[in-house]
Symmetry: C2
Subunit: 136 residues, 2 copies
DNA sequence: CGAAACTTATACTATAATAGTATCAGTTGC
DNA sequence: GCAACTGATACTATTATAGTATAAGTTTCG
């Protein structure tokens, strides 16, 4: 079971770099520092920019910068941005009614677990990760 | 994010059926009752049999039966059987040393979350699901 | 102006996991 | 012997993930 995909992982690492640097950084520099394929990172940065987590500037002095305070960027939001919502509610909305009671019983338990996971992800922010990083 | 694959889901549902029936059931009957593709379920049953959760008997009077008490079958074990172990430890064992501290910081948090999830899955058994089912 | 360093936008590919499907062989009991 | 079952494989289709490639536009500096 994989909790985070590479995209999410890279996004978080890029955000951490930006938070540490406190200014504008080019995708190329971030990619080199984090060993992330450049084009892949560029696409990730675009997604982050469109969602308002970073600002970008074109041109030779351009690059990427944080658009929000590190403590205002929650891992739960980045996760949702790149991996979509937690979607265990399928049986409730997509099919008429859960035609199998056993499945519903299971889903009830899964929903409980997912809420727990989500709550934990919501408490993790770029700021809290940064704190861990500096403490280590 | 998907916690359970179809295989795990089907396996649990099959085990619940068997626990309710308290005897031998053919894969065909289970598949029909749970709307599971027959060949797919048969492969799942084989895996369950090889792992010792069910016994099978060939021939016209054959079928599948539980080999363990419902309360001795934990969802965590079924999950592991079909989806493998929780594998967030990659950076510790597969690569020499985590060459990126930010990643390690993240993984540390992920491990914590995975332990929580695993603990919850360990507390769910076929018996506890059956109880939910009868209470509903 | 024009090159260098940057982002934007999109299209393409490779690999692996998931979810099934299809068969043939062997077993059991009437 | 045939109907209903399991065992064991091999195959396919779809999707997600993880990239790669490239053409086009922007900004600054010399």
């Amino acid at each position: 079971m994989k909790l985070l995909t590479k995209k999410t992982d890279y996004a978080v690492r890029a955000l951490l770099r930006l938070a540490q640097h406190d200014g504008r950084l080019s995708a190329r520099r971030i990619a080199a520092a984090e060993h992330i394929p450049l084009q892949f990172l560029r696409a990730i940065v675009q997604t982050l920019a469109q969602a308002g987590y970073v600002t970008t500037r074109e041109g030779v002095t351009g690059g990427v910068a944080l658009a929000r305070a590190p403590r205002a960027i929650r891992l739960a939001d980045i996760l949702q941005l790149f991996q979509g919502t937690l979607d265990m509610t399928e049986c409730l909305f997509r099919k008429k009614v859960c035609r199998n009671r056993a499945t519903c019983v299971l889903r009830h338990r899964l929903l409980d677990i997912e809420h727990t996971v989500l709550a934990k992800f919501q408490r993790i922010t770029i700021a809290s990760l940064l704190k861990d990083l500096n403490a280590a």
